[in-house]
Symmetry: D2
Subunit: 149 residues, 4 copies
């Protein structure tokens, strides 16, 4: 998807609740729990512009995580509502580079700063999909436009 | 909580989305994934009547699962919305006996029939809490009345 | 698999360690954590008689859980070693009915009593597989004989 | 722990099996599954030099992840054995900087390159623990020496 816009997409918000199963013995969210919320947030971004992730898979396109970087700043407590703020920071060749920051309760400072890179792959061959389905390209365009269905 | 009403509480509904991480190699929800949705559903029932589960824990009362029975009837596919229908079927002495059935998408038949028993315990001693906090008793009463805050 | 032996198979043992991620705010294993150990235990039983579960899937046969019943008796603490004792109690028509009990540390009493029913399904159609692969039948036979590869 | 040795510690190996629950719809390990293996691997490194992580917590010291970076290179398939190779690359002031690479089956190339930073915290206050328990310091020393109990 060459020639893609350089300014990042607008931020999208996804809300989740910290449940007992997300916590560990320390009574705060286990470090891996945030990956769930971040995945759900990305999928809801696609849904917000009309693309169901399961439809994308049915078209033969997967979007696995190939790169992941997380900086934990504040503990996330049981019972709190978290909001995952997500945007596509850049598209490098075919890779989608996301910023995903997690805020806990009413904190104005993020509890977690995340960067996640996805790449479209052929479901079957597992190879990079240099020409993804048109529905995928349309969805990306709408995400950058901040349009929602 | 002796003398408790015998008819079950009304049904409460909790909605969740089947994400990639809930699925396994077969492309449908792994059998343990439903436990997440069921836990979240129970906690939202308490929240709906004004009791935060984390507040209950702060009062020194845990509510662990002591009994669990699940019958899987239909596969639950990625991307679908599931609804967990939950009610307290009965209170046996101090145990809360829940029915929790999971429906997938628009299916009129349940994908999963669940029964879950919880018991209030002292957080520290781990012993059965025969006289739980008043806030807990109030919440139970409101659940049976079908009242929401 | 009609005419199958009525006495249960011998017990197989599977060991696991209770890690931070298995615990919740109460500092003991979250009730769903045991499902992981129980799944791993069943798969190791098959491996012990020479059947790789992933090979079974490649032959077009899945073995989903269709029924599950757990009774939690004792808390399971972080850092402890648990042993899952597993046996096939009975084969009802085509269903495998397992007993799976979890012991924590040196406790002579079980922390958890489990019953799990599996059924062989066609991977693609999702239908019951009345004539499973010969490799599967052989594995079952060896499990009942208590033979290991 | 100033004046700490600059060469990294020796590599430690931890083995795990890729189970159905680790996989997602694509039939390969979900990207978050590796965090489990990596946590277990770090805890086994401490155990190998005689320090139980749960004992450390009992001494009032937690070791949360504060930084995490993962690069996924190759898919990890169901049924394979993975080995997590772990070492402490450096100690920066009080932070433990780990390299943790995951290899799948007989692949000579890593499936995942990980970097994880831990910091000792007071269990109760949540503050950085500038003088951790002596048992912790001893364990670190033995890890760098490559000694095992």
């Amino acid at each position: 998807m060459p020639g893609y816009p350089t300014p990042p997409s607008p931020w999208f918000e996804y809300f989740a609740r910290v449940q007992p199963r997300h916590t560990d013995y320390a009574g705060i969210a286990w470090h891996g729990s945030c990956l769930e919320w971040m995945e759900a947030a990305r999928i809801e971004v696609f849904r917000s512009v009309g693309l169901e992730y399961s439809d994308l898979v049915d078209m033969g396109c997967n979007l696995p995580v190939v790169d992941l970087s997380l900086r934990y700043r504040q503990p996330i407590q049981m019972g709190k509502e978290v909001v995952v703020k997500s945007r596509i920071r850049a598209i490098e060749k075919i890779k989608l580079c996301w910023d995903q920051d997690v805020y806990c309760g009413n904190n104005s400072k993020p509890s977690l700063l995340g960067k996640v890179t996805l790449v479209p792959l052929h479901s079957k061959s597992g190879r990079v999909l240099r020409t993804p389905p048109q529905e995928f390209k349309n969805a990306i365009e709408q995400i950058f436009d901040g349009k929602k269905v």
